[in-house]
Symmetry: C2
Subunit: 347 residues, 2 copies
DNA sequence: CTGAAAGCGCTTACAG
DNA sequence: CTGAAAGCGCTTACAG
């Protein structure tokens, strides 16, 4: 049933009639190619009657400028390179959507690279995209700060989920929300926590861990870091052994994917959540509101962040100053995976 | 904290030193630009000693070909345009990943457009991308068959989740799986079903509905179509009123997102799932295995499908025959949202 | 095997 | 306001 039928056996690459060029329009409109070009790309720089004729001809021939030819001259391709570690992760999908909106606003287009969490592929993607785009938006990049700065000598660069000195940086500030989360656990009676870490190369992971550490210290709670781990559901599930071994009553996970994995595994080990183990995630992804129990997490408008980041990158490309990043904070969403610890675990 | 610091106030668009061109290499290697070009793009067409010198010079200057200039001449951009209705939907995210893999294999890159379920934006995206890509991969397109065929006169086109005469078409065949699902419901004792429809413009939605209709008829069960609806969780939830009003004991939803919405709403209405209402989804997306109850659904390797589709498109671009699409079928995954109807509802 | 030359489609000073 | 001309960086017949 689902067979691929090639349109016609020997069809070559660019099928159909060749597109009209400015020369064709010039002929039809009875003007020179220069005038066509000027009229079309610098409106207002030509006689209105001439402009009318040119536009009519363009319309008639269904003219569409050859992006490459234009790019060759202007150095602009109209494309933004977007590099994400995992397009399959709802958080990154939202960021892509936000960036796409911003790009569309400026008539720009998105060149997407999904590195599938591989540092090597990220390096490869960034160098491959380099010449094909006007700027690069690096999301949760694993590249080192120096490498990023080097990149920014070759093209415009902005980063998301990271703070790099000298580069427009956009990230959700986790400090207030995570501090609230630790406070929330404290009030529930927890005194010993675990932080189930994400990738060691993730700047954001370090920041979240440091924040939890500091907040726990403030409250005189104990906290241990468990990891690093891949930021996945499977890795979260695998971490349950170490969480149990640590003897803590609550765990904060690097992200919701890991919290969901932790929850899966807790059930498999007959641990009651939140009674035996309270769980806090991060991101408020699709699904975190219908696990059972539902997951207490930190929410943030990541789509809007992707949008701001892309707008800023475009400003940079246009030679303007990048606008200051809005102060985007994660906020605590209390659901059912956090509760009082069983008495035996309080200490 | 999260402030954007522009690298340096007045920095212009293409920062840093200009990239090396073949002329620079020619100078360093002491040969003509033609030779450089030939050596670099047609390996084996030049003296091995010359080739060595050219390569060394290229390496030394960190040469990277200007994609645009090359494209201008060859007519190839090395980009595949990928148009999806909703990047935020896990199904499409997987397809994007698959396509990305296939593209990377051929050194091609993905130009992504997310139409956010808008037909207008799809038209706009396809015409904007047209000149910037070597081919277009249309996923769950709402375009009419004629429009798609017209597009395919201008560039290479393949479609996913759709079957268009004369165009390489890739989709998950739902017939066997859905027939199994209806049989499964029959065995459980259900005799009256509802199909909660997706978008009216979705070819795949029609196919799924027709399949359910046919299967129900075969079994002498009754079935009603409820919709059309947007393919979203919210729309699924909103459809619960009509499902209840229809007095059926089981509902098959166009996709998992809608099934999850239906489940949310069923709980809100104090309906027992599966006792009062059995639910079947489609896609087996992330989350459908941890709702409570977990959702019985149809699973299929959509990532692999995206990969095959993109490979086929690339073959077409290379002027080869598109390979036949593999026969990819959805298969029934029985979980906890389907069960025996309460006796009062059996009829 | 190699080089000089033309050309891909557009833009942009430069004259007029 | 408009046109002739040069040039963006590469590729590819065409001679040699």
């Amino acid at each position: 049933v689902s067979e691929a039928k090639a349109p016609s056996a020997g069809r070559r690459m660019q099928p159909g009639k060749p597109r009209a060029t400015i020369y064709d329009i010039a002929k039809v409109a009875g003007v020179s190619p220069s005038t066509v070009s000027r009229t079309l790309s610098n409106p207002g720089r030509s006689n209105s009657e001439t402009a009318r004729k040119v536009r009519a001809a363009a319309e008639q021939l269904d003219y569409r400028a050859n992006v490459m030819a234009r790019a060759l001259h202007t150095g602009r391709t109209g494309a933004i390179g977007l590099i994400v570690p995992d397009i399959t992760n709802p958080v990154f999908a939202s960021i892509v959507r936000g960036a796409g909106r911003a790009a569309a606003t400026h008539g720009a287009t998105l060149l997407l690279a999904d590195t599938e969490e591989s540092g090597d592929r990220e390096v490869e993607a960034s160098s491959r995209l380099l010449r094909a785009v006007d700027g690069l938006l690096l999301v949760s990049t694993r590249l080192e700060a120096d490498v990023i700065r080097e990149l920014s000598e070759r093209t415009c660069v902005a980063v998301v989920n990271r703070d790099v000195e000298g580069i427009p940086s956009f990230f959700v500030n986790p400090v207030a929300g995570l501090t609230d989360a630790v406070g929330h656990l404290y009030e529930l009676g927890h005194r010993s926590l675990a932080y189930v870490s994400g990738p060691s190369t993730s700047w954001m992971n370090r920041l979240r861990w440091e924040t939890c550490l500091e907040a726990a210290l403030q409250r005189e709670m104990t906290i241990v870091e468990i990891g690093p781990n891949p930021p996945t559901r499977a890795a979260g599930a695998a971490a349950i052994r170490r969480v149990r071994a640590a003897g803590v009553s609550a765990a904060l996970a690097f992200n919701d994917l890991m919290a969901i994995g932790l929850l899966d595994a807790a059930k498999a080990h007959n641990l009651l959540v939140p009674g035996d183990l309270s769980l806090v995630g991060f991101d408020d992804i699709f699904g975190s509101d219908f696990t059972s129990p539902t997951i207490t997490t930190l929410a943030a408008p990541v789509g809007r962040m992707g949008e701001s980041a892309c707008h800023a990158l475009i400003a940079l490309i246009e030679g303007e100053r990048a606008p200051a990043a809005p102060d985007i904070r994660a906020s605590l969403v209390i659901r059912d995976s956090t509760g009082n610890p069983r008495r035996s675990q309080q200490r």
